[in-house]
Symmetry: C2
Subunit: 422 residues, 2 copies
């Protein structure tokens, strides 16, 4: 397709999505929940078609010599499809955020001002190879009353189209607003750039994937983007830490699932407990296959098996069994290090000291700050939001895990009886 046609087609799609969003806005919670249940069922009844389409993508990825991790993210099976279906059911059981009166008050002249939660409108999701994102995002945007435009990775196009077809058919049977859920069905790479200029129709872009994808989206978008680039998360072991808790929390934060954004990348240790804490901790990490890059003091305490950390290491999101370790002089130095090298994602202090915990929680400028818990809890499900559409390290609109409420905005509805301004 040439660029002119692509532009025209995508504009038309986005304009229809905006029109649909106005009808979506008016759907009752009941109608939306019913549709979500129908969509959940459609994934199960359409399983063989979806698996067949997915098989095509997997074979192509294997022929293209993609990594094992890549193929693992891409590949669907019975269990994964069941999981996607359950997610939709779970979303159907969550409270509908739309229509909530966030605040209401009367001003002296009698005007009755209501601040009411409403859908954002049209949301575009730009993502990479996981096909489950397709159904999760459709479910969350649908429940929050938004139209959605999905643009997944070309490696997963067959899978995404099959999932979309199943869900769309279920929606159409229930006569839901035409144009509310959309998948961009071209592999043409220019489609993303064109979408990102359609600020007339699209209200919000959420990119999900690696840092380079997200930077590309931010650089060329005319539409507000909510995102996180990366998660360089810290655990700081305070001089007053319970060392058993510290060991268990640090081990969990690094090792339980190292490839995700809320895993620990740097461990900070107060100098007064470094000699007691580090040898056992480092031994445990090494047994789990974690490679350590330490500061000079860590290097000295560990005696062997530690590589000297560079400044660049503290800026690195390893997403792997590699850990930076730094001994710091004080709580203040730890906070300073985190605010300088961190990515405003998730950071934790381990301490038994009341004032140190409070100081850390207040002064660390991150979306999620923990006292005595693993950073691995930064996750919509773990927070009790039932689902998650992404994590934000931005400060505007939404911060931390984002679910249904974060996919809404508000408007003021004002009830008067003839008031004029004097």
């Amino acid at each position: 397709m040439n660029t002119m046609n692509l532009k025209h087609d995508l504009s038309k799609l986005a304009a229809r999505a905006q029109e649909a969003s106005r009808a979506m806005h008016g759907l009752s919670s009941q109608a939306k929940n019913l549709a979500l249940v129908a969509m959940a069922e459609a994934l199960i009844s359409g399983k063989s078609v979806i698996l067949k389409a997915n098989r095509k993508d997997v074979l192509k990825a294997k022929a293209g010599r993609q990594t094992k991790a890549f193929i693992d993210r891409l590949e669907l099976d019975d269990k994964r499809i069941a999981g996607m279906s359950e997610s939709l059911l779970e979303i159907s059981s969550l409270t509908d955020p739309v229509g909530e009166v966030i605040k209401a008050w009367r001003v002296p002249n009698g005007l009755w001002i209501h601040k009411v939660r409403v859908p954002i409108g049209v949301i575009a999701i730009i993502y990479e190879s996981r096909p489950n994102v397709t159904s999760d995002c459709i479910g969350l945007c649908f429940k929050s009353g938004n139209s959605v435009i999905l643009r997944g990775g070309s490696e997963a196009l067959n899978s995404n189209l099959a999932i979309y077809a199943a869900l769309k058919k279920a929606a159409d049977c229930l006569r839901l607003p035409e144009g509310a859920i959309n998948v961009v069905d071209t592999v043409d790479r220019r489609a993303v750039d064109i979408l990102l200029k359609l600020d007339k129709y699209i209200d919000l872009v959420i990119p999900r994937g690696g840092e380079s994808l997200i930077r590309r989206v931010v650089a060329s978008s005319h539409i507000p983007v909510i995102k996180h680039y990366k998660g360089i998360c810290h655990v700081y072991v305070d001089e007053d830490a319970d060392l058993n808790k510290a060991e268990s929390i640090c081990f969990n934060a690094k090792v339980q699932r190292p490839g995700v954004c809320n895993a620990m990348e740097t461990m900070l240790v107060h100098q007064d407990i470094a000699a007691r804490f580090l040898p056992g901790m480092i031994k445990k990490f090494k047994e789990a296959g974690v490679k350590i890059r330490g500061c000079a003091v860590t290097f000295k305490i560990a005696k062997s098996g530690v590589q000297l950390a560079t400044d660049k290491d503290y800026h690195t999101e390893y997403l792997d069994l590699v850990l930076s370790v730094k001994v710091v002089q004080s709580l203040d130095s730890a906070i300073e290090h985190i605010n300088h090298y961190g990515t405003r994602h998730s950071d934790s202090i381990v301490t038994e000291d009341y004032n140190n915990a409070l100081k850390f929680l207040r002064q660390v400028d991150s979306a999620c700050v923990y006292a005595n818990a693993s950073t691995r809890f930064t996750d919509g499900n773990q927070f009790g939001m039932g689902a998650e559409i992404g994590i934000s390290t931005d400060k505007l609109h939404a911060r931390g895990p984002m679910a249904l409420e974060e996919l809404t905005t508000y408007k003021y509805m004002i009830f008067g009886d003839g008031q004029i301004r004097t």
Copy 2:
């Protein structure tokens, strides 16, 4: 100054502002309120210096043959300085938003999650010639715990610097965080473009001024911008309107202060009451000097003195005693017209019909939707927010009038006792 120096100086200023914002965060409400009172007093005691500086700007504007309206916006006198001082006192009396626990809950593993309101960080305000914006913005950003970087119009530079000097001296006497309030003191036009690239230090930009200024800021900013371009506000007179209320509301919305963004630019009238309503209404408008641009039906009903409206007129923010008038077939056509031609600012329906009012409030996609009241109430003070830093027609983060709460974000503080993820 050359560009290299300017870049270096502005980066340094912004970095210091970010550092100061971390200290600002920790200030007690009491300390902030005391400082605001001191600032209010400093404006009064420094009045003669401020007026002298303002005189320079005014003389220059007159020599440059600026319009009367321009000079009116620029010129200060005793009364205006007293007003600025009172604003600061009012801000000191408002509730401090920082530290509010917006929500808190416990998840099954015992983690205690707190969603806590915190300052945004560093806010840059780009504005035009009104010097009172300088003290208002310093007051609001200060109270909400943010550092602020002000860049006013070069025509008001002497006034702005004098106001800033008075407020800064008051802040310094109280040993408030160095670098929390800043004015960019160069007339070099490149300063704005440089500021807008400092996303490492600055969290939010709020432009205040004409549409061209705001478009320029949005086009070149790497930092999130909250704004409104213009306000094309509508009043729709429904077939079930009380015509006395309708006349009084429409007249107020157009005439009371036509040069502001919440004034009515287009009046929509249901076809079934057009013949009864329009002749008297148009007569009243004409007596007040309002020029009418009407649709064909309006043109016919009015008989004389109405110019035919073009499509472009419905897209125009007159900011003057000019009004577009259109007769519509139904409530649905009115809603469609507003969602198409409007700017998502403020729109009102006049009706005695319950269902029509509700439908309008729900389906018009604007920041503020009114039933039976003038659009002129979209204003932080009128909403009972005590002050206002601007109005947003964006959908993300803040919508409608913005005051202290809208200058904050939140973070999650999570209290654990050793939780790890399994």
